[in-house]
Amino acid sequence: MNLVLTAITGLFLSSILTLLFGKKYYSLIFLCLIFTFVNLVLSFYAFSIPDQAISFPWFNMGKIAIEFTLKIDPLAAFMYFLVSCISFLVQIYSLEYMKVDSRKHSYFAFLGFFTFAMLGLILSADFLSIFFFWELVGVSSYLLIGFWYEKNEAANAAKKAFLTTKIGDLGFLLALLLIFYYFKTFEFKSIAVMGGNYESFKAFGLISLLLLMAAIGKSAQFPLQTWLPGAMAGPTPVSALIHAATMVAAGIYLVSRVYFLFTPFTLEVMLIVGVLTALIGSFAALSQLEIKKILAYSTISQLGFMMSALGAGSVYAAIFHLGTHAFFKSLLFLSAGSITLNFNKTSIEEFKKAKIKMPITQKVFLIGLLALSGIPPLSGFFSKEEVLSAVYLANRFYFIALILATFLTAFYSFRLYFSIFKKEQKETKESGKLITIPLMVLSIFSIFSGMIFFPEILDVFLKSAKHQNKMIILISGLLSAFLGIFFAYIVYRRKLYILKMPELLKNLSLKGFYFDEIYSKLIIIPIDFLAEKVKLIDELIIHGTIKLIRKATCILSGSGHLTDEKVIDKVVNLSGKLLIREANVLKIMQSGNLRTYLYIFIFGFLFFILVF
């Protein structure tokens, strides 16, 4: 455990150092890489050790001591491996991709910082620390999306991402308040133990709904999914790491971690949200033109799958899908980056006339898309089957919806592939080793992680108890995927447009169901309007006051010399005159005349005797 802590702290420190001194000492970047690699290696070790926890005192509130609790258990170890692995591969990729950028050192610092925060989030074993790292991850995302802040689009996207996830964080904060109010502690273990009685159960209901809100924000579910397409304005490796594999998985991870907290009602809501999101995402991806936007909506859709799995009751399916998705989605993003880097085109339209060939990238891209569509024996197939099984057992109707989403997934994936890589291939380019090697590593994971990491599945698969149901699920899953690919082939490779999508649907898809426009009209414009009005009032009051003061000062100072003469001189002269008068009175006493002195002496004395 201590080794892990050292490695993580090392990563944190190296990211800070790189941020501060990276411009001068370029090699500090490699420190971040080294520490990420160390963490990767340690994650293997983490799999082997038994559950361990460690806590650090943080602060005290009266008698109650709040601590940072970190824990390693199988789930955490798996995520630890996932995050370190993908982060490391992305960083190597970035060495080539961000070669020409002038602010490379900050980029690597932010990446390192993000990895640190994500690892902290994974290892947290109490609500307050997970929230702490949750927010840190949000900040890293903001910094990285808006990395090229000179571009307005990027800066705005970063703000949008941060604020939208903040809405979810509001839910998290309220949940924290409730948790502390009911349980007087933040630790997962203690709360799980306390959760026996009915009182806690009611609390669980509300708390779980709020935590669901947080997960919806972070994992870009309906209705807070609008930030993810915009986040594509950041560098591609960032999209791969944060917005495909890790940060957006944080919401799923949170739910998995404290799954005991979730009541049937919340799970039902979660299932609905997940299915809706899966459909919205896959539908919107159908008509997108930019490669990265397609992948972004695809991520939203797949996260919807994971959320539905959680809602249906299977944490196992969700985490499995999270893992495989992390690998093939980051593979897809990184290959998209490779394509863009070589041909300088970011959208499908630009590739219409081009006939390109990229030996390695093309193959790994294909592998990633096959995994995404759920074709056996790639990993995506196994995890998707698990998700579909779970949802089938929960609700037939939602299962059908997910089958539809699977079909759409396959369709848009191969629309993407066929639009970029044609039969005729003239222009050949390929990226450097630093790019292709991570791509190949990821493709290996995409192929084998289904079978190797979860070998039981093959057994369960081949001989399952509910033979009939399993067959239905298996067949519908495979059928929808193959049909999707087939239709995409027909439409985009053979160019036989059998169905023309109605203009309305096409726009609905392209604009992502107009969520951005709706939110803009409903929320942003009213708020801007109010803000303008408030600003006016502000000006009125503050400016008004300042003008008044200015006038008063002018009047006073204008009549200054008058005041000076009349008032001040009078006072001074008067005091002088009074003084002289008094002095004249007192002068009598100093007459130098003996008799006068005698008089004063006698009568003064008598006066005192009589009066006192």
């Binding site: 100093q590 007459s591 130098g592 005349n593 008799r595 005698l598 006698i602």
Partner: protein, 102 residues
């Protein structure tokens, strides 16, 4: 001879002496009035000593003796001063001695 009568006597003498100090021009006349005041005070003390106390009491007499002695000494000193003043400014009128006036 009651206490009251003697006291009235001493008061009157005192006032006459006071009047003399304040009104006389000559220093010696002033001084004579001061002596008168001394004697008035003496009578005051002796009258209290005689009429007070059921037993014979000599406290008042002792104090009066002191006063007489002091008066005598003071007479010597005072007259010496007046002599010195006369030698210096050739006058002993109080009004004329205004060296202390600014």
């Amino acid at each position: 001879m009651t206490l009251q009568n003697l006291l009235i006597l001493s008061t009157l003498l005192f006032i006459i002496g006071l009047y003399g100090v304040l009104t006389r021009r000559s220093l010696i006349q002033m001084y004579m009035a001061i002596e008168l005041m001394f004697n008035a005070v003496n009578i005051n003390f002796l009258s209290f000593a005689y009429f007070n106390g059921s037993e014979i009491n000599f406290k008042g007499h002792v104090f009066v003796l002191f006063i007489i002695t002091v008066a005598a000494v003071e007479a010597a000193v005072g007259l010496a001063l007046i002599l010195a003043i006369y030698r210096r400014s050739n006058t002993i009128e109080a009004d004329k001695l205004t060296n202390l006036k600014h």
